[in-house]
């Protein structure tokens, strides 16, 4: 069922709160991949606050939906969501990146409740997500698997090995998102290693492809519901996003792939987020 106007308003408010939390964690961590965390926030918010079937009090619940953050450097954006959902105390995030903290910038599934797969090295997540989805089907379980990839990550050949196999095995319970923020560490994707025509590539690999505005909850919801209804093929949702989304001085800036912010800059960032810049 499409998201109602009220649900959309609620998700938008939640996304603002999560973005502010990310800013805090970036300060505590001493630096983080804030740009790509901000670009994926709305998709993550839609999943964790509306679509995923979860029991935060029971992280290992066997029938939960699975989520693999294949762009593992988005950990600074993922951890606040898990804390807010109740997987662990938000106070723990003050130790992010510190000595012996369970939280490093790439989250460890064996240390952080709610993380279904340890990721960080790019190009690994889609294969693991595919394995989970195949495992569910083999065991006649009905939970779904979602995997969020970076766009630069799609340079990795292993992404396409997994893409080929997911189509071959007709795994329609697997949904991938590509956070198409157009940027990678060294510059714009199309300058460093061109991805376009990206949608056509996924189509050629046999996937059902949807291309949306990754900051528009109505579109995000419609695409996820479309993926859930698709039979016989996996779906990829290419989410056109803005790197640094919501923070005016970070938006569409390559230099904010990874950065540090002090409390003064953090206040400015939060004002930008809560001021409704969109």
């Amino acid at each position: 069922m499409p998201l109602s106007a009220e649900e959309i308003r609620s998700l938008q408010a939640k996304a603002k709160q999560i973005r502010c939390d990310m800013v805090d964690v970036t300060v505590w961590a001493g630096g983080a991949h804030i740009g790509g965390a901000l670009s994926m926030t709305d998709v993550l918010t839609a999943l964790y606050y509306h679509y995923l079937n979860l029991r935060p009090a029971e992280p290992g619940w066997p029938d939960r939906d699975r989520f693999v953050l294949s762009k593992g450097h988005g950990g600074v954006g993922f951890a606040p969501v898990l804390a807010d959902k109740g997987y662990f105390d938000k106070e723990l995030l003050k130790e992010f990146n510190h000595f012996k903290s369970p939280f490093g910038m790439h989250l460890d599934g064996n240390k952080v409740p709610g993380v279904d797969a340890s990721t960080g090295s790019l190009g690994h997540g889609l294969s693991m997500a595919l394995g989970m989805a195949l495992g569910a089907r083999f065991q006649k379980q009905t939970w779904r698997t979602y995997c969020l990839l970076g766009d630069g990550e799609c340079d990795e050949g292993s992404v396409w090995e997994a893409a080929m196999a997911a189509h071959h095995f007709k795994v329609d319970t697997l949904t991938a998102f590509v956070d198409r923020n157009q940027m990678m560490i060294d510059g714009r994707t199309e300058d460093i290693m061109s991805l376009e025509p990206l949608a056509a590539k996924w189509t050629a690999f046999g996937w059902e492809v949807r291309e949306i505005d990754g900051h528009d909850f109505a579109q995000i919801g419609e695409a996820i519901e479309g993926a859930q209804a698709t039979k016989g093929a996996p779906t990829v949702i290419i989410c056109n996003t803005v790197k640094g989304k919501g923070v005016d001085f970070m938006e569409d800036q390559v230099k904010w792939h990874y950065g540090s912010i002090d409390s003064k800059l953090a206040a400015r960032a939060k004002a930008s987020i809560t001021g409704g810049v969109s």
Partner: protein
């Protein structure tokens, strides 16, 4: 083929079946009892001999095509979903092509994935060096959480595969390619992961071996006994990690001379693992490693390559004779300890 139903499992004759064929059959037996078991391969179902499993459990085999990174990533995801994946491919691909998936997806997450790496060492000698793998023991033993087993023959392969199911976490089992000679006469000799098997008692020198080198070490021990009257202890150290420190140190104390033989680069393999144990103990001994002398392997039939790299019976005999005359600095209190 001799197929005997034992008290708890079927016995497959290692004289008529290759290590990999035995693996396929043992996996069938195990899968009968354990519905979690699935088999994965990357277009090597034939070469890795899981065809028999495929015939019996077609729904439980996943062939991902020639894509080893995907192979191990999928296995990790399946293990996460509660399955027990057995992944078979050539050791070169399991240890090098897909190393990061093995390390990060499987070992780092400490997942219950069993890797059956065929064509280890120079066992596919004719194929050329791209298809040899003389680095895998070094690579795999450096991965935290990984258990590394190099069975001596088909009998030991059956034991290792059964034991791997009982052991939580990742296990790497390295096999040869074809009809490597068989050392054991059956599988009933008390195999245990992490426990060396004393093949031959001896007091003058100890030859420590794994894989096909175990057979050759046993042959060499017989020759040395008959021709030179030398008493050679032979240890089958099938588990490279966790290694049997006790058996190694007992051998050092009791024989003072150690030769390690393996189908692997002399850097990083069983020889290095044994040297670690000896160095940490502070005990002195005469010590040598036989294997590939930090080079890429020549092409040829395995038996010719084993001879070339002195890991066959004659080669081991020659190295033992040399090592028996090598001087070393013994501890002052050694005799007391002994």
């Amino acid at each position: 083929m001799t197929e005997v139903t034992g008290t708890t499992w079927n016995v497959y004759d290692a004289n008529t079946l290759t290590q990999a064929e035995i693996y396929g059959r043992v996996l069938c037996d195990l899968a009968e009892a354990d519905p979690r078991i699935v088999a994965l391969t990357a277009d090597l179902a034939r070469s890795t001999k899981i065809g028999v499993f495929q015939d019996k459990f077609p729904q439980r085999v996943f062939n991902v095509g020639i894509a080893e990174q995907d192979l191990f990533g999928i296995a990790a995801g399946m293990a996460k979903s509660g399955l027990l994946p057995f992944v078979s491919t050539m050791s070169a691909f399991a240890s090098m092509r897909a190393l990061e998936q093995v390390r990060t997806d499987i070992c780092y997450q400490n997942l219950d994935v069993k890797i059956i790496a065929t064509h280890g060492g120079v066992s596919f000698g004719q194929a050329g060096t791209t298809h040899h793998c003389t680095e895998d023991i070094a690579i795999q033993r450096a991965l935290a959480n990984m258990c590394v087993i190099v069975p001596a023959d088909g009998w030991e392969t059956a034991n290792a595969v059964r034991a791997a199911v009982q052991r939580p976490g990742p296990v790497y089992i390295r096999l040869g390619r074809g009809f490597e000679p068989t050392h054991y006469e059956n599988d009933d000799y008390g195999f245990e992961i992490g426990k060396a098997v004393t093949i031959n008692e001896g007091t003058d020198i100890t030859v420590i071996a794994c894989g096909v080198a175990v057979y050759h070490a046993a042959e060499a021990a017989k020759l040395l006994k008959d021709q030179d009257g030398i008493s050679v202890r032979v240890l089958d150290v099938h588990t490279i990690k966790p290694i049997d420190e006790e058996a190694i140190l007992k051998a050092v104390t009791e024989t003072r001379r150690i030769l390690v033989v393996e189908e692997h680069n002399v850097i990083g393999g069983l020889g290095s693992a044994v040297a670690d144990v000896i160095a940490a103990s502070g005990k002195g001994c005469a010590f040598a490693k036989s294997g590939l002398p930090d080079c890429y392997s020549e092409v040829g039939y395995p038996e010719d390559l084993y001879a070339h790299y002195c890991i066959d019976g004659d080669g081991i005999v020659g190295t033992v004779r040399e090592l028996l005359h090598r001087e070393f600095e013994a501890d002052e209190d050694w005799e007391d300890e002994f």
